[in-house]
């Protein structure tokens, strides 16, 4: 079971971009463990994880999920505002570069607050992914693709993109 930090995919352009939504909820225990000045705050590391999952799926689609795509480096990450329960996050990941060894992505994070109807830009994240079967050291990994679990397939199916995982 992998802990998903996105709820659904809302836009997809092959080999270019993928957009996912995350609804932040008090049902998530982690918010109760991260209360600052009385306000439950989604940890920035998990906001980045949401972008990593969005961008990771985008990278995975380019090989039909044959490659094992691992987050290797957070090149840049900035968040201008706290994220709390009731907020909705919109992750837009853009594929910048890809080759046999890995891929780089840029991404923007928009947020819509509870009772709000407008999106505001609150963050940017640049990531680097490794296709670990083509790692520079020549290290071998299990053949089974342990990165893209059934959870990811469920998200693709929900978005009507099940054929990408076949």
């Amino acid at each position: 079971m992998r802990w998903l930090w996105i709820d659904c995919i809302v836009e997809y352009e092959a080999d270019k971009r993928l957009v996912a939504i995350k609804n932040v909820s008090l049902a998530e225990d982690v918010l109760h463990d991260h209360v600052i000045n009385g306000k439950p705050i989604m940890p920035f590391s998990l906001v980045i994880e949401g972008m990593a999952q969005t961008a990771g799926i985008l990278v995975g689609t380019t090989s039909g999920f044959k490659e094992k795509v691992i987050l290797a480096k957070i090149a840049k990450a900035s968040l201008d505002s706290d994220v709390t329960a009731g907020d909705t996050l919109r992750y837009e990941a853009i594929l910048e570069r890809i080759d046999d060894a890995g891929a780089s992505t840029s991404g923007i994070i928009d947020r819509r607050v509870a009772r709000g109807d407008a999106w505001e830009r609150i963050g940017k994240v640049e990531l680097l992914f490794s296709h670990i079967d083509n790692n520079m050291a020549g290290t071998e990994f299990p053949k089974h693709n342990f990165v893209f679990s059934d959870n990811f397939k469920m998200i693709l199916e929900t978005a009507g993109l099940a054929d990408l995982a076949e």
Binding site: A72, K73, A75, E96, R97, D99, D100, A101, G102, S104, L128, S130, N134, N135, M136, A137, G138
Partner: protein
């Protein structure tokens, strides 16, 4: 593009990829031992060089990869004569003088990739 122009752009690339100050990026600085680059940073640097200079870099073209897979190239953790010849032929942008007579342990090979190596590489690629 002049060599100085290339060097300045590489300073920016390494600043972005490794978070180092531009004044640390001297021509002689080794990417690994002086600037703290790890293996994944090499991929980051390759992507940034491609974007900055608008050319494609094949896997293993800029940095040596998977050397240990070939027993003719590496024996007991050390680069063989054949391995060294292969690298010198494929990687004309790198100065191998220091390992020709000295320590040939493959862990030292990364240290040979200097800022100057990158400038040489870009200069060769741009020349066509």
């Amino acid at each position: 593009m002049s060599r100085d122009d290339i060097f300045e752009k590489i300073q920016e690339v390494l600043d972005e990829a490794l978070g180092v100050d531009e004044d640390e990026v001297t021509p002689q600085a080794s990417l690994t031992s002086d600037l703290g680059a790890e293996s994944i940073d090499f991929l980051d640097i390759v992507f940034r060089l491609e974007k900055t200079f608008d050319f494609k870099i094949s896997q293993g073209e800029l940095f040596p990869e998977n050397l240990t897979e070939n027993p003719d190239w590496v024996a007991d953790g050390n680069l063989t004569d054949a391995g060294l010849s292969m690298l010198k032929e494929r990687m004309t942008h790198v100065d191998f003088a220091s390992i020709e007579e000295g320590d040939r342990n493959i862990s030292k090979i990364g240290d040979l990739i200097t800022v100057n190596s990158l400038v040489n590489f870009v200069e060769i690629k741009l020349a066509g």
